[in-house]
């Protein structure tokens, strides 16, 4: 008996495997010639035979599955269902599944794993859906001639809280309602969790649903179907592929200032608020439970709330918004007057604090002293920060030169690259504005007179493309800006000749290289043979130098033949603070900008009467004109026993400023004088000293040019 049974089984196995092979051949053949009725018949007969024999031998699962397959094949045979690639794929999958079942049941004499069972159920559903799809299509084609957009199907995944039934809600009613807003194209009722009857808890909901809904409406409308149970349902609404482009457009056009990805997606109506909350919760859960660090975008895609391309576009958008936000946060436009006002107030605060400090010393109460010293420190910090408010990166000014260089190249046929480095070095806003013109001139000079034409460069073994570098860096409380070109350099001989012909220097005068180059800053001394559109006309290097000096800066030049020229500008970081040299006449304090001070000497070596008349002294063989501050600001008063002379240099000129006392270096905050003092031109401002006293800042240049030299 057993042997007989085994023999039957063996026959079944051999027969079925042969038939399955035949099926596969048929399917592949049909794929190429879908109209081949003979092959379709063969296919059908194969399935039919497997179904019959598996039932006979007692493999009911194989029988049932093949039954479903047979139904589909009969639809194909009868022309109710037309063959396409997807169907062939599905049928091949079914064939493989049957052969797996035969292996498990007949060969291994075992049972299907849960995984295989689910696979079988899914295949069955797919086979049934094939038929339904056809029916729907047929029905609709009959009802309306309109072409149906199969693409426009939303995939909705619904999983209810298992207690939903006891709340009085029937999942079926929600699904039924879907028909009101669209057309249910497919449903897969997932009964994976449903136990056999014996173990069923009749009040629990085990079913979940995968629904294909065709609707014109959006995600919110679909979500609203479940509005009353939204807290008791796990809902995933994946938009149709056809929506992807629409969403991408929506996101791109979206006006939002939120930089959060989730909110961008919600605003573009790609996902709903509820979905976002779910996704965020999922994100938290994964982190807490699995230690996974997932980005919200990844969760949204994984949870089938939106398509990857849509999320990608949203990420792009997010990046843009973030960038623009950062730009916004980098700069706040403030009226510079307000800023000046603030800085003045801070100045007052510094002074008031100094006053407080002195009072506290007098009182000498320990705790009080401590408090005051803390406050003093804080106020100092505030002053520093307030000064920084005026500081802006120089890069913005520099980048404007790109255009200038480009235009020059176009005009002259030169090839020049402008390289900017140190653009984030900060400089006082006012200085930045005023530095623009001198820099522009220097860049033009470099391009115009420095860099050679490509052909010339090639001939002398340089790359055709010339390089002009503009570089900024901080150096000991100053900022240095360098304009470096790799051009032909400055012709020393030409400068010398011109300087001699102009009478600037003597024929036999010995000058250092540097001194020669610096001659270029003299008015009228331009070595360029041709005046071009860009430089060399009128505005000479002398104007550049004046501009720099008005900013209390220093300009310096260095050049090597055929290697290039470097112009170095050194500027104070801010106009609001200067390093000053304090002097006094009687009890009045004056500040001389430190960088102008060359040396100090006592006047006692000369007779006072002498100097009173001559108003100059002989300084090591040089004539040094003198200015007496006492003469400018005081008509009388007691002369001190010893007067001092501060030798200052402005441009090429040196003068001596005669004062009573030298008080040394101070860092001073410049406060503008009120309008009341606007006629006192020899004073450029004032500063208030730590002890509360006022010091006036001398405008040395005015003193010099104002003909006040004694």
């Amino acid at each position: 008996m057993n042997d007989e049974l085994n023999a039957i089984k063996q026959t079944f196995i051999n027969e079925s495997l042969d038939l399955l092979e035949a099926m596969e051949r048929s399917l592949l053949k049909i794929e190429n010639s879908p109209e081949d009725q003979e092959t379709i018949n063969t296919l059908f007969r194969s399935a039919h035979t497997i179904k019959g024999s598996s039932g006979m031998v007692g493999y009911y699962e194989i029988e049932k599955f093949t039954h479903t397959l047979e139904n589909t094949l009969s639809s194909i045979r009868d022309g109710k269902l037309s063959i396409n690639r997807d169907i062939i794929d599905l049928l091949l999958e079914c064939k493989d599944y049957i052969s797996d079942m035969i292996r498990v049941y007949a060969i291994e004499e075992s049972v299907l794993t849960e995984e295989m069972r689910i696979k079988g159920d899914l295949l069955k559903v797919k086979l049934q859906n094939l038929k339904d799809e056809k029916k729907v299509l047929e029905k609709e084609l009959k009802e309306s001639s309109e072409i149906i957009n199969i693409e426009g199907i939303w995939h909705i995944s619904v999983k209810f809280n298992e207690d939903i039934l006891t709340y009085g809600f029937d999942p079926l009613s929600f699904i039924n309602y879907m028909q009101k807003i669209g057309e249910v194209r497919y449903i897969f009722v997932n009964a994976q969790k449903l136990p056999p009857l014996e173990e069923l808890n009749h009040e629990k909901c085990y079913l979940s649903f995968e629904i294909g809904l065709y609707t014109e409406l959006g995600k919110k409308a679909i979500e609203d179907i479940f509005e009353f149970v939204i807290e008791d349902v796990k809902l995933r609404i994946l938009p149709p592929n056809s929506k992807v482009e629409e969403y991408i457009k929506l996101i791109e056009e979206l006006k939002t200032d939120s930089e959060k990805l989730g909110e961008i997606l919600v605003n573009a109506e790609v996902i709903t608020k509820k979905e976002l909350e779910d996704a965020l919760e999922e994100q938290r859960n994964r982190k807490v439970l699995k230690g996974e660090e997932k980005k919200i975008g990844e969760i949204i895609v994984e949870e089938k709330m939106a398509h990857q391309p849509v999320v990608d576009v949203a990420l792009e958008k997010q990046k843009k918004i973030l960038e623009s936000k950062q730009r916004e946060s980098k700069t706040i436009k403030v009226d510079s007057e307000k800023l000046d006002h603030l800085i003045n107030m801070v100045g007052e605060l510094v002074i008031a604090t100094a006053g407080l400090n002195q009072q506290s010393m007098k009182i000498g109460f320990k705790e009080f002293l401590e408090s005051v010293s803390i406050m003093t420190r804080l106020v100092e910090d505030i002053r520093e920060k307030a000064m920084q408010l005026r500081m802006v990166p120089v890069g913005e000014t520099f980048s404007k030169f790109q255009r200038v260089v480009r235009d020059i190249c176009k005009e002259t046929g030169k090839e020049i690259e402008l390289r900017i480095t140190g653009g984030d070095t900060e400089l006082d806003k006012n200085v930045t504005e005023k530095i623009n013109d001198p820099l522009m001139h220097l860049i033009r000079n470099a391009c115009d007179h420095g860099i050679e034409t490509p052909d010339v460069r090639e001939k002398i073994g340089k790359p055709r493309k010339g390089i002009v570098k503009i570089n900024a860096y901080n150096d000991a409380g100053s900022i240095v800006i360098e304009i470096i070109d790799d051009g032909k350099g400055i012709d020393k001989e030409k400068i010398l000749q011109k300087a001699i012909s102009m009478g600037l220097i003597q024929d036999n005068q010995q000058l250092s290289e540097r001194e020669i180059f610096n001659l270029i800053f003299h008015p009228g001394l331009s070595t360029a043979e041709d005046v071009t559109k860009f430089s060399g006309r009128g505005v000479g290097m002398d104007v550049v130098k004046k501009g720099i000096e008005s900013l209390r800066g220093i300009i310096d030049i260095d050049s090597k033949k055929n290697i290039g020229t470097t112009v170095r500008i050194k500027l104070p970081l801010t106009l609001a603070i200067i390093d000053g040299f304090m002097v006094s006449v009687d009890d009045a304090n004056f500040i001389i900008p430190l960088e102008m001070v060359i040396e100090c000497l006592e006047l006692n070596g000369f007779s006072r009467e002498d100097t009173n008349q001559k108003k100059y002294i002989d300084l090591r063989g040089e004539v040094l004109p003198l200015i007496r501050l006492r003469d400018i600001f005081y008509n009388n008063g007691f002369l001190p026993p010893i007067e001092n002379v501060v030798v200052v240099k402005v441009g090429q000129q040196k003068i001596g400023i005669v004062v009573d006392k030298l008080k040394g270096e101070v860092q001073t905050v410049i406060k503008n004088m009120g309008i009341f003092y606007k006629n006192y031109r020899h004073i450029s401002g004032a500063t208030i000293l730590g002890d509360g006293n006022v010091a006036l800042i001398l405008d040395v240049q005015y003193l010099l040019n104002g003909g006040l030299v004694c």
């Binding site: 049934q128 009613s173 039924n176 897969f188 009964a191 009857l197 014996e198 009749h202 009040e203």
Partner: protein, 95 residues
């Protein structure tokens, strides 16, 4: 389908959550017979998820015993729901 292998069960009235417990007990009692089951659903007046789950679970249990479940003349209400869920082919319906 041989008559002696099959048992017929009539369900009358509600097949919803209120009657779920009763229906479950009734159906369960037929599992022990080891026979195919014909459920006559022509007089069912209410049908919901709870009712559907019981039918599906019943089928599952019968499947495990290699027995079949047939639904006979389900009322329009049930037909509509099966259609809605595209489960027309899930149960074997006879008339």
């Amino acid at each position: 389908m041989r008559v002696e292998d099959t048992i017929e069960v009539y369900v009358v009235g509600e097949m919803n959550i209120y009657k779920a417990e009763d229906n479950k007990k009734t159906f369960q009692s037929y599992l022990t017979n080891n026979k195919n089951v014909i459920l006559d659903l022509s007089n069912v007046t209410e049908f919901d998820t709870a009712g559907l789950q019981i039918l599906m679970a019943f089928k599952k249990s019968l499947d495990a015993k290699h027995k079949n479940l047939y639904l006979r003349a389900p009322s329009e209400l049930i037909i509509n729901i099966l259609k809605l869920l595209k489960m027309d082919n899930y149960f074997e319906v006879i008339n």
